[in-house]
Symmetry: C2
Subunit: 501 residues, 2 copies
Amino acid sequence: MLNKLLLSIRVPRRLLGGINRYLHEIPLSKDRYGIKRAPFSSITDKDIQHFQNILPVQNQILLGPEETTGYNRDYFRYVRGLGTIVLKPRTTNEVSAILGHCNKRRLAVSIFGGNTGVCGGSIPVFDEIIVSMELMNRIEAIDEYSGILVCQSGCVLEQLEEQLSAKRMIMPLDLGSKGSCQLGGNLATNAGGIRLMRYGNLHGSVLGLEAVIADGTVIDLMSNFKKDNTGYHLKRMFIGSEGTLGVITRVAIACPTATTTQNVLFLGMESYEAVLRTFLESKIRLGEILTSCELIDRVSLEVTVEYLKHAAPIGNFPFYMLLETTGNKKEHDDEKVREFLEFAIGRGIVADGVLACEPSKVEKLWQLRERIPAATYSNNFCLTYDLSLPLERFYDIVPAMRERVGHLVKVVCGFGHIGDSNIHLNIAGDVLTNEVQQLVDPFVYEFSRKLNGSVSAEHGIGLLKPKYLSYSKSAEAIALMKQLKVMMDPKAILNPYKVLV
Amino acid sequence: MLNKLLLSIRVPRRLLGGINRYLHEIPLSKDRYGIKRAPFSSITDKDIQHFQNILPVQNQILLGPEETTGYNRDYFRYVRGLGTIVLKPRTTNEVSAILGHCNKRRLAVSIFGGNTGVCGGSIPVFDEIIVSMELMNRIEAIDEYSGILVCQSGCVLEQLEEQLSAKRMIMPLDLGSKGSCQLGGNLATNAGGIRLMRYGNLHGSVLGLEAVIADGTVIDLMSNFKKDNTGYHLKRMFIGSEGTLGVITRVAIACPTATTTQNVLFLGMESYEAVLRTFLESKIRLGEILTSCELIDRVSLEVTVEYLKHAAPIGNFPFYMLLETTGNKKEHDDEKVREFLEFAIGRGIVADGVLACEPSKVEKLWQLRERIPAATYSNNFCLTYDLSLPLERFYDIVPAMRERVGHLVKVVCGFGHIGDSNIHLNIAGDVLTNEVQQLVDPFVYEFSRKLNGSVSAEHGIGLLKPKYLSYSKSAEAIALMKQLKVMMDPKAILNPYKVLV
């Protein structure tokens, strides 16, 4: 119910400004999203005094509805929290002192990063104490020799990217939300993004981290080394655990050397078979310079072209692909790209295409992929799904969904990171009826389960998807996750109601 | 004591053939390596009958000193076990049934892979039941589109590489021991190797695994997707846990597209500063085609040239580097390599060098790096250390050690994966005296701790290094590891006496 309700919150959004102040007046005894408040303590004046001792600098504590509103709603307005206090630690020791007190008093805690998550993982459900990491934004070291960045977890991704560029390095991940998202949140959700195909996932690039567990103990797992096999790899537990096992406070991450060339190809194909063939040939022929490989279906392009008021770059095809190469020597890259295109067009795999290497033209082509979500969200409602599916059946979910609800909605489109087997399915229109809801969900999850897919490729579970976890994970695995949670956080104070229920 | 004793076991090695049968007669009540046998049950005829029911096929059970000898000694002859029974399951269900029974009866278990570990992690200490994974060697799927291999954990690395080549794919890791080592053992020890710099570590490339935990429960964490954020990333716990948390039975791993070109540069430098500079410039100028970057010091080359009876490829320098590039277009790679060399020699960073691209010449240059361990092991004793150290102080351990023991031994040399900040320090000679031992150890570990290094970069902890764990991990982290062990394996039957003590 929760997911259906919240993913269709477009109309109420206009009202949200008006209900800010009332949210704080919702009684905590009332169920929210069908969830009862767990028996946590409520914050007292004595607790606030204690926090004032821990956090002595002005503006480290926010109190009251006006000041805390921004921390009680997510960017997409899917969820609203009832938190009444925001704490902003600057150091690991301050985080440790906060959690130590909360654990002793059994006060629930919600961890707030850049607020760009899409599953409600960083917003309180009831009156959890909000711990915002925004002041923990110190860069400790950038080493161009080893290619390693060490920083606090509240650093914003784009600012890290800027600092790295002076040393000819880049972050191993790039996200649409880079202007706001924080590295700690990226780790907590194991964020993916458009560079993953080239530079791998965060489990590969994160070399070390420091985290504070529920009882306030600081677990120092910092390491500046690509190789460190001394005991269990505990840092992995925190990556992707969405703040429910500990608060990540510092990070050491391996950063690739910057590239200096860029080519973007926008290609049209007549069939999904041709899409797959193009992907395979691009891996073989573009090899080490292939950075991104994205799929866009005809409907996705149509709604985005209309939304952006751009002309389509090529004629009409059922499928389009956006390929990006980056490298270090322009003539070499250009030649590889040209030969790939000659091959793919010559063999009839690619029907038509354009190529860009100037930044403004590259940007314009990328917009046709990156703005698909915005274009579909501009409808009154938009249901969005983030699935990993086997490539041979990757696109089947889209025609299957069109057959079910195509006559009842305006848009059913599929797009995404085909290079990572990750498809986004968006269903948008004017009015989200019960009929549509019931035709879509749980069909999407069942479809994914039949193919052993993942019901959350890169968005995580958060508040919105715990009930779908069993579609991707076995009962034994979920039982072990719950054991781990109890071991790490026996009073369950960290990000309650999230991930596991 | 253990480490000192075992790392210098060269002389007794000659006697080992003769003592095979006597090992089984060593009373279990006797301490081994200073370790007391934990109060596990002893195996009975009834247990053997039970295993015969679980494993019905001939040769799935080995009994007695003759048949089990090979499973009681490691390749390097550092350790000897007293196991009397070897079980060879073919399926996950058989592993589950074995562990279920052992857990119920409190019988200890030792997991045996390709027997190429260097820390004694896969050899029993007392009479642990040996579970050998060699029959679990089925390849389930190789998908060239997604680039994913799915197989049982007992597959041998080199055989996987051969099967992949038909589909223009390669394994993401390459090790000197690839002819024997098994993928499950690679995961259990989080093996590194010479491709890590290019293709990342196993945490990045392993997409899914299946493991059986101590009570026999099968934890299905298989996933064929680069992106899957559904709950805690439990599979990470098993990678690098050296068989102490569960038995890995199946693996899904992302495999890179094969390259078609290869260049190897063997370079000489006058100073360590020039080494660092060469590394940085190679990352910038060779960029995406740089696959390996190895350091060899003068002594390492001298002993290896003598051992191989080869001529040195270039004149005498204090430092040498071996760089490898692999790519997809020979002209492009050759031009990049040539320009890099022109720059590095022109600026006086590199003093001299040779370049090879023919397989036989490439092989000959690689031998100068890969056979350093064999060359140093050919002495009567050889102490070997595997450290990750910060690049700016990476080599300092070698002159420091030469000053301490250079006059007492034949060889003190440093070499290794400078691209991964991983140095190997070997100290070899005729007689390992107490004086040398005391000058070397714990100095090496203290040196590493001062630099926040890792005392085991890629070899793991196993039986030989638990007492050194605290040189790289905090008390809080080790306490959490122990909690995890108790949670996963409350009767401590899996690979006892290893990793944590």
